[in-house]
Symmetry: C2
Subunit: 358 residues, 2 copies
């Protein structure tokens, strides 16, 4: 029978006290050496380091943070809708990178679109005394975080602003991004443009709808509520919505899909119906490989790296003591023509056909 790691009786982890005993110094001297504080003679410091090495001593951060005057745990919390969503996973990675440079780790969690889960996760993170919080809010009331904020936990909101709470936030220019997408379709000769959107309770969905309406208005096109489909929460729902829209009389000639999952559904529907070369499409958010589809899918891209970096930067600035009023950073989008958005509509002019407009 081999000695199996998992089954052997646990061997106690050495403490500072053990290191002190072995090296024949006081606890405080070990603490000084471990924390690289100056003012320990080379002789003692060497003995301590040797003893620590010999015992394979590793400091207990949870104990030190309890006693430390700043109480820092070198851990931050990240509340997302879903850690596996590509946009959010990319955000997570950026935040992790900024945190890592400071020796800070990230506890991330998913709350889907469940308000209660958002609060539960926030409570769980606070109970573990995270140094700060980054939140992509789901609920419509973040006032429950006010006490925690007053207790000194900095918090930054990302992608969506907080409600009933004054805090920093980093957002995408959803309205102008959507406006650009729809203006792009209009400039290619479309006037009947459908809007597909997520639940109107989500601020980004509303802002993108607002950009859509604004682009139509600027072009003197009356919005037709029959072309606006909200509360679509999955690719499948978007796929069905497209089939319905295209089967109706006076069907749209172009579609603006205001979120990545919805874009997938639209692409599926158009391919299914064999309409991918006749119905124009612009999608919001990045999707891998869509440039290889035929036609490629024209997308409005968010600056995920910029969002993640700015969010983490602000949080750590607050942790470093920045007490200026809360700020709101808004990052622009980029429209990438890939084919589907350049399909000409019935009102195309010579300019739009020759690409004189974009």
């Amino acid at each position: 029978m081999t000695t199996h790691g998992q089954t052997a009786a646990p061997r106690a982890r050495p403490t500072m006290r053990d290191v002190a005993a072995l090296s024949g110094v006081s606890l405080k001297t070990v603490s000084r050496v471990v924390n690289l504080e100056p003012g320990v003679s080379d002789d003692l410091a060497d003995r301590v380091r040797q003893a620590a090495e010999q015992l394979d001593y590793h400091p207990n951060l949870t104990a030190s943070s309890l006693r430390r005057s700043d109480g820092k745990t070198q851990t931050i919390g990240l509340i997302l809708e879903d850690v596996s969503n590509p946009f959010e996973a990319a955000l997570h990675r950026r935040i992790e990178e900024v945190a890592r440079a400071r020796g800070v780790v990230v506890i991330a969690g998913s709350v889907d679109e469940d308000e209660a889960r958002e609060r539960d996760l926030a409570t769980a993170l606070v109970a573990r005394r995270v140094d700060g919080l980054i939140v992509m809010p789901t609920g419509h009331d973040q006032s429950y975080l006010a006490k925690e904020q007053r207790s000194g936990t900095p918090m930054v909101f990302v992608d969506r602003p907080p409600t009933f709470l004054d805090a920093d936030c980093v957002l995408t220019a959803n309205e102008s991004g959507a406006r650009a997408a729809v203006a792009h379709l209009i400039s290619h000769g479309h006037r009947r443009i459908a809007f597909l959107g997520d639940q109107p309770s989500i601020s980004t969905a509303i802002e993108r709808l607002s950009g859509y309406r604004d682009a139509l208005e600027r072009a003197g096109i009356a919005a037709d509520s029959a072309l606006i489909r909200l509360s679509l929460t999955s690719s499948d729902q978007a796929e069905i919505a497209v089939a319905e829209l295209l089967a109706a009389p006076d069907a749209p000639t172009a579609i603006f899909a205001s979120q990545n999952l919805l874009t997938i559904g639209v692409v599926r529907a158009l391919h299914q119906l064999g309409r991918q070369h006749s119905i124009a499409l612009v999608g919001f958010d990045d999707l891998p490989l869509v440039d290889l589809l035929n036609p490629g899918v024209t997308l409005v891209l968010q600056d995920v790296t910029g969002l993640g970096t700015a969010t983490a930067d602000i949080l750590f600035r607050r942790l470093d003591g920045d007490t200026r009023p809360s700020e709101r950073i808004i990052l622009p989008t980029t429209l990438i023509p890939k084919g589907s958005g350049e399909i000409l509509g019935p009102f195309a002019t010579i300019e739009s056909a020759t690409g004189a407009v974009s």
Copy 2:
């Protein structure tokens, strides 16, 4: 000037002592009520709950775990190659779900393919006294975790087995999955089949190569080293490799891309060269939307949900005291024909043309 949350002087968080003082009971009684221990009179319990409510008291988990005999922090660590890789992000989400059901949160981190970073992250997690560790190992020696394992931290490896360490692991049947992919191509009339793979230091890359060789051997086809391209670490490198392979004399008629990023590169290259309808392709790992490409891409899928669930389940079983010998779970793959893998090769028979073989 409004009162701004972030700038107001931090208000100290209430402690158990504060609750005890306000309710006029001892610290221990508050502890009993907070931890739902029996044996407190309704009268006192009520007073304590009211005081806690009034002060907005929330327990400090980091302090309680320090003192608790089991020392549990209700936190586990997850070491990944990249939290934003779709496969790993999906794994992360599954593990989070299992953990959440037990009130446990997850600290995840990315180490890319950097051994030093793997060790640093492990150290950072151990310093925070995570209750357990889930590791997708990058390095080729996990013996550095042996002491930690003996100290009582359970650990489970996922996707790749640990080296120089006896521990549980949950893997994909890489070899048989790759064998099935290549056999599929052979049955469709291909004999010159290229293999594209990641760094040979990664166990999954080697296992998939082994499955490739095995399938060829079983079909009596001699392996041609000119068709085997290893150490490809990005889509771009795979794209270049395909261009080279197809430009060479006696070029392959089919390609097996043994990892998701590489599959993307192959698809790009084939479309670029206009060969997507003549060169067969099977890819390993899922990729969104590839079924909408023309042709759709035939894939070998891993059971990500199964991997995540099994990994987390084992970890928590160990945390619950299971001391049986370490186990190795291997989950099967599924081949999904989507078009690219069914392109017929020069040795196609009537059976392969009619789909009598899959």
